[in-house]
């Protein structure tokens, strides 16, 4: 019979030199690990227990929402020095939004890009926007010949302009791939993101055929006086670091009867927005009477942002 049978917890047995050295090594290793991950301590300023435990948008009760919005307003004040108001307009029954852009009229002036940047509280450092305008040589629709970084006067001879943003697809591949249902399609067709539920895996960015989604590679910076205080929970509130965002057809405006910021800013009148279910709407007239097309129709995502020529 060996000693071990009689000792139920061998850890309490005699300690020899080798064990002692191992103990010191393990202690040093743990200490070094603590030092290595010590930058994480800075997270505490940014991350409240309430945020950590917050439930999915669809599981929030009206009282929960009230508390969450109040907390986000407080955080906006603390972190950005801005007095903001966060609300949560719901889809209007009987409304399915559609957008159409007249490529015969668009001249690539980029006012829509700028308006989106301001309206949606985008990061100032990266000059982020949900809209990109491609300058395309006439005679091709191949984006390989397009250019989004032009700085010269517009319109340029021999070119046309193609603004691209989220197409709010009826069959959105980005929603299918999300492992945690952090993004979904609302009843009015708008694809939204719960910025407080997204885990930042970026699978949706890989799945989107249109480069419509953006990731917050860092915490957005916006001067207090430039923060747009009129904010929606699922739309233009300042996004946290490490989550994906996208165009939401300015739902904090459009669900309250206003037009998207990009449309209001467009000086050429190229943009038509409205309720596709309303037979008397302008968007309905365009879809019925113009030569309308969508990008990459063959992929079957069924965009609800259309292009047309006069």
């Amino acid at each position: 019979m060996s000693d071990e049978r009689t000792i139920s917890l061998p850890v309490l047995g005699q300690i020899d030199r080798r064990t002692a050295v191992k103990g010191i090594g393990a202690t040093l290793g743990l200490g070094a690990f603590g030092v290595a991950i010590s930058p994480l301590a800075r997270m505490r300023e940014q991350l409240s227990a309430e945020e950590l435990m917050q439930k999915h948008y669809k599981e929030l009760t009206p009282e929960d929402k009230e508390a969450v919005f109040a907390r986000l307003e407080r955080e906006a004040k603390d972190q950005y020095g801005a007095d903001v108001s966060i609300h949560d307009p719901q889809p209007i029954p009987g409304v399915r939004f559609g957008y159409a852009i007249n490529l015969s009229v668009c001249n690539g002036n980029g006012k829509c890009v700028e308006a989106c940047h301001k309206e949606n509280n985008h990061d100032r450092d990266t000059n982020q926007s949900y809209i990109r305008v491609f300058e395309m040589p006439k005679g091709t629709t191949d984006f390989e010949h397009g250019n989004t970084t032009y700085t010269h006067d517009v319109p340029r001879e021999g070119h046309y302009y193609l603004p691209v943003q989220c197409f709010q697809c009826e069959n959105p591949p980005c929603v299918d791939v999300c492992p945690v249902e952090a993004t979904w399609q609302e009843d009015d067709g708008i694809v939204v993101v719960d910025y407080n539920w997204c885990i930042g895996c970026r699978y949706c960015q890989a799945a989107c055929p249109y480069h419509a989604r953006r990731f917050n590679w860092k915490k957005p910076t916006i001067p207090a006086e430039e923060v747009n205080p009129d904010q929606g929970y699922l739309s233009n509130r300042v996004r946290p670091q490490g989550v994906v965002e996208k165009c939401h057809f300015c739902l904090h405006r459009t669900r309250e009867g206003r037009m998207p910021a990009c449309l209001e800013a467009c000086p050429t009148g190229a943009r038509i927005f409205g309720n596709m279910l309303d037979p008397d709407s302008e968007i309905r007239w365009v879809l019925k009477n113009k030569r309308v097309f969508v990008l990459k129709e063959e992929l079957g995502a069924r965009p609800t942002l259309f292009y047309f020529f006069d």
């Binding site: 019979m1 061998p10 397009g146 999300c178 492992p179 885990i199 970026r202 480069h211 490490g242 990459k296």
Partner: protein, 427 residues
């Protein structure tokens, strides 16, 4: 590394004591064995610990300041983390090339060393899970992925399938290895009822982890470079090169450095397997390239970028041709019987194949899916210093797990360490 406690091994003799008493002894003994060794062992573990700590520090910075520390962009939104993840799923699945001969074909010599492959699967899966975790923008919201706690988009999202198959594969192998080691430690013969069915499931499961991982990419209609039915078979073929190659080198190292007695037969069997899989892998690569380049058109731009560069952008060109050269040279070596009789040449062939596939299936697969972007913009990507550090840290941690589990498993499987006799050699 934790083990599953077998809940009720049948016919446990009463005189050996209960599992409640024996299992803690097994764990304690494992801990002692895992930390005992000579100077080279301590040097190796210290080195791995240091690299792992550098990685942990880099990751902590990335979490706090944001993934701006990486070189990923909205255009190339996955990088070397997901590249390594994809490759390591293959290594994990590759271990099954020992399990199939060992269990299905009842090859006695292979059966004796099959635990090397099962332990490799454990270490590789842990690395996979870490590579996915460090790629998350919000690791603090990890719990959203846990079925029941969060919202699990199953079965629509392929990523939820991957969560299931990877964790399932980890549990299967933890159970198989844990059960075998514990029972051997008790000095008993393992009861096939308690592990053979799990081994059989693990064979199918190994195929599934790499198939599901391929479907993550091949299911995306907007990414023509990945949107090919050949992706899953290609993943499997290259996995059955990389996994066995790693195991051959492991057995060689164990023989030379740890003086473990490993017969030639399992090594030769793995060589024969790789001889086939390395050619299948090259055949599939060639088949992809023919379809891409002979057809032409805009779908070819990704392959053109990868192999030849596009409009002056050619960051991946040297990587990819290195991979092709490594794969072709290793295939040639594997096919030369003379080369395979020389252990050093054999190991060289394995290392070449392993690195070649790491490039081909890692950076060579993930990055061209994003370049040019879905709107044909050319934004290139090479990993940042932080990304290299985090990746190296995870590799070091994976090697630590594998080293430690071998330290525990080999003496137990040899019958050197048995309950009641352990420690007796020293006293």
């Amino acid at each position: 590394m934790s083990h599953h406690q077998p809940s009720a091994a049948p016919g446990a003799p009463a005189d050996k004591g209960s599992h409640w008493a024996n299992y803690p002894r097994f764990l304690w003994r494992s801990l002692v064995m895992a930390t005992d060794g000579g100077l080279p062992f301590y040097a190796w573990m210290t080195f791995l610990t240091a690299v792992a700590l550098v990685g942990a520090n880099a990751w902590a910075l990335q979490v706090v300041d944001g993934m701006i520390h990486t070189n990923m962009t909205d255009h190339v939104s996955w990088g070397i983390y997901i590249a390594n993840f994809t490759f390591m799923v293959g290594v994990a699945a590759g271990g099954v090339m020992m399990v199939i001969p060992g269990y299905l074909y009842r090859d006695k010599d292979m059966h004796d060393v099959v635990i090397l492959g099962e332990l490799l699967a454990i270490a590789a899966i842990v690395m996979c899970l870490l590579f996915v975790t460090v790629d998350l923008g919000r690791p603090d919201r990890f719990w959203h992925l846990i079925p029941g706690l969060g919202r699990f988009n199953f079965p629509i999202s392929m990523l939820t399938w991957d969560v299931i198959v990877l964790n399932g594969y980890l549990l299967l192998n933890l159970h198989i290895c844990g059960y075998l080691l514990y029972i051997r430690y008790l000095g008993r013969t393992p009861n096939p009822r308690w592990y053979v069915p799990f081994v059989m499931i693990s064979i199918v499961w190994a195929i599934s982890i790499h198939t599901v991982t391929a479907f993550l990419y091949s299911g995306l209609g907007g990414r023509p470079f990945w949107n090919t039915a050949l992706l899953a078979p290609r993943f499997l073929a290259s996995a059955f090169v990389a996994g066995p190659a790693f195991l051959i080198v492991t057995m060689f190292v164990l023989r030379r450095l740890a003086r473990v007695d490993i017969p030639d037969r399992p090594i030769q069997l793995l060589v024969q397997i790789v001889r086939v899989t390395v050619l299948i892998n090259l055949l599939m690569l060639g088949s992809e390239l023919f379809t891409e380049f002979y057809t032409g058109g805009s779908h070819t731009t990704h392959a053109t970028y990868l192999f030849f560069g596009l409009h002056g952008h050619n960051a991946l060109v040297p990587w990819m041709w290195t991979a092709v050269a490594l794969n072709v040279v290793s295939a040639a070596l594997f096919l030369l019987p003379a080369a395979m009789r020389n252990m050093w040449l054999l190991c060289a062939a394995c290392v070449l194949a392993f690195v070649g596939i790491w490039i081909e299936k890692g950076m060579g697969l993930i990055i061209p899916g994003f370049v040019p972007s879905t709107l044909h913009e050319l934004v290139e990507y090479l990993p940042s210093s932080i990304e290299w550090r985090v990746s190296a840290g995870i590799w070091a941690f994976g090697l630590m797990i594998y080293t430690v589990s071998l330290k525990i498993a080999i003496p137990i499987m040899r019958g050197d360490v048995v309950l009641g006799r352990d420690g007796s050699r020293k006293k």
